[in-house]
């Protein structure tokens, strides 16, 4: 506690020097602005997600949830994927929510499916994709279809191969016997916010650094190169860590890139990027994140490419 106060006072004294250093360097000020952009943009969605996850901690016990969900894992995964449409927001909010919903067996697969589906197919994201690609409804259909496919495949894969002991991060146990619903709510919200926001900082810093370092020519040389385009756009979605409500507009503006790679960009981004990887390792544990994130990346890229080729055609 005294350490925190002293650190803050130290930074306050250094503030002027620090500020001058950042303002003098184009790279530093761009990185600082992009970091602030990603963090400030994510904060309201994170707060919404955390309030929701705290409500879940109070009212949705694993028993109750497994009574609502279909018993069979495949049916539970399908229900969760479609249920993802009910959480309007971008991907930062869905990680803490999924962590609270997570449980043994079918429940775990369903929670992870929900985490992947919610940021990609909720109404806000669908509408922004429609607006960004007027006259190209196949992009919207492709995005929803490929994102649902990714979430369902990953959910089924988890129920087949996933192991709960990879999830090393434990949630604080609700105190039995003492404490009201209100205290449980505050404690859960406090825990989830601190945990998710700390990792959001790491992710936003990584996105800012990469944003400054990715050279312009990467994108300018992708015209007519389908396979290379798919790969580069998938990686770009991971490193840029855009909000899923905004990425459609960025994809729309990359007019020199064919449509299929741009669809890959829209499907991969909400499923996995550097900030989501950081948040997953914070809330679920590193052993989980290093397995789940690369698998998500491969599945999302493949699903988007297949769906894209099927409905948009190879010419793009």
């Amino acid at each position: 506690m005294p350490l925190v106060v002293m650190t803050i006072i130290g930074f306050a004294l250094l503030g002027g020097t620090l500020r001058a250093a950042v303002y003098d360097s184009t790279a530093l000020s761009t990185a600082g602005t992009v970091f602030s952009g990603v963090f400030v943009q994510a904060l309201p969605f994170l707060a919404l997600g955390v309030l929701l996850s705290a409500l879940i901690a109070v009212f949705v016990t694993p028993d109750r949830l497994s009574r609502w969900l279909p018993r069979r894992p495949s049916a539970a995964v399908l229900t969760a994927a479609v249920g993802g449409a009910a959480l309007p927001g971008c991907e930062c909010g869905s990680v803490p929510v999924a962590r609270r919903l997570y449980g043994e067996g079918a429940l775990g697969a369903a929670a992870l499916t929900f985490m992947l589906a919610a940021p990609a197919i909720n109404p806000v994201v669908v509408v922004s994709t429609v607006v960004a690609f007027p006259g190209e409804p196949r992009m919207v259909v492709g995005r929803v279809g490929a994102s649902l496919l990714t979430a369902i495949v990953m959910g089924l894969a988890w129920s087949r191969w996933g192991r709960t002991d990879w999830i090393t991060r434990r949630l604080p146990r609700a105190r039995t016997g003492q404490g009201s619903n209100w205290q449980t709510f505050i404690e859960a919200a406090r825990h989830d916010f601190i945990q998710a926001a700390s990792y959001l900082v790491i992710g936003a810093a990584a996105a800012a650094a990469l944003n400054v370092m990715v050279p312009d020519w990467v994108i300018e040389h992708l015209a007519g190169q389908l396979l290379l385009g798919v790969l580069v756009m998938a990686l770009l979605a991971v490193v840029l860590a855009l909000c899923s409500e905004a990425d459609a507009f960025v994809a729309a503006s990359l007019t020199m890139v064919p449509l299929v790679p741009r669809l890959v960009f829209l499907v991969v981004g909400p499923a996995i990027d550097v900030k989501l990887f950081a948040m997953q390792s914070g809330l679920f544990g590193r052993a989980f994140a290093v397995r789940f994130a690369p698998a998500t990346f491969v599945v999302a890229t493949a699903a988007a490419t297949v769906v894209g080729l099927a409905i948009l055609g190879g010419g793009g």
Partner: protein, 237 residues
């Protein structure tokens, strides 16, 4: 890290959010329309921190908490000091145009040409640079044809001329794009001598011919009059 220290950091994150929201610096990072959401978020985070602090004090000793089986977050909560320092003490500036990548137009080509709504009445209505680009490329109603308009942006000297640009935010500073129009006509020659990033209000008429549906062509504005101005409060379009 102790519970009290975490609560203090939580409080500071809320205060930092409140400060950039009230001070207006948030428009450098996100769209102005985020204002109500940021205000609510700041209030929620500050309330969460204050309630946690009050609960711990009322419970007598927070130290007791350290032994009742609560896992602690380790040192990662220290990360929260980064946004506190960046937002309160540094407050990074708005993006400069040379920082904006990819340097492409903010207009989609997958758009069918369609009639746009008429421009506002008046001698020279203000039209944003992205709107000028979209209308020049896609408007089948010709709302820009022969019409005197006012645009606001900063100068971007080019080989053999000068452009007027404006950074466009879609969602936040991570997805910024650069929108631009060429400045043409005799009056543009003087503007080309201004230093880079001089803010201008320019009155002029968009030259016909750019309206071929190809959004990669940048429209040209024939300058009638130009005035140097201070940078606007919200520098993004």
């Amino acid at each position: 890290m102790s519970r009290e220290a975490e609560n203090v950091l939580l409080l500071l994150v809320g205060v930092a959010t409140a400060m950039i929201t009230i001070g207006g610096a948030y428009t450098r990072y996100v769209k102005p329309s985020m204002l109500p959401w940021l205000a609510v978020t700041a209030a929620v985070v500050i309330a969460l921190a204050l309630i946690s602090i009050a609960t711990d004090i009322r419970r007598g000793s927070a130290a007791e908490d350290d032994h009742d089986g609560h896992p602690h977050h380790g040192s990662v909560a220290w990360m929260l000091i980064v946004p506190v320092v960046v937002l309160i003490f540094v407050t990074p500036p708005a993006l400069r145009p040379q920082a904006v990548t990819p340097k492409v137009t903010a207009v989609s080509t997958e758009v069918l040409r369609r009639p746009f709504p008429a421009l506002p009445a008046g001698r020279a209505p203000e039209v944003s640079i992205p709107d000028v680009m979209t209308r020049a490329a896609q408007d089948s109603a010709g709302t820009l044809d022969g019409r005197l308009i006012t645009v606001i942006g900063f100068t971007l000297p080019q080989p053999g001329g000068v452009d007027l640009g404006r950074v466009v935010l879609i969602c936040c500073a991570a997805d910024a794009q650069l929108a631009r129009v060429h400045l043409g006509g005799p009056a543009a020659a003087e503007l080309a001598t201004y230093p880079e990033q001089t803010w201008l209000t320019v009155e002029g008429v968009v030259l016909p011919g750019a309206a071929d549906g190809d959004s990669t062509s940048i429209p040209t504005l024939r300058v009638a009059a130009a005035t140097r101005i201070e940078a606007p409060a919200n520098v993004y379009a």
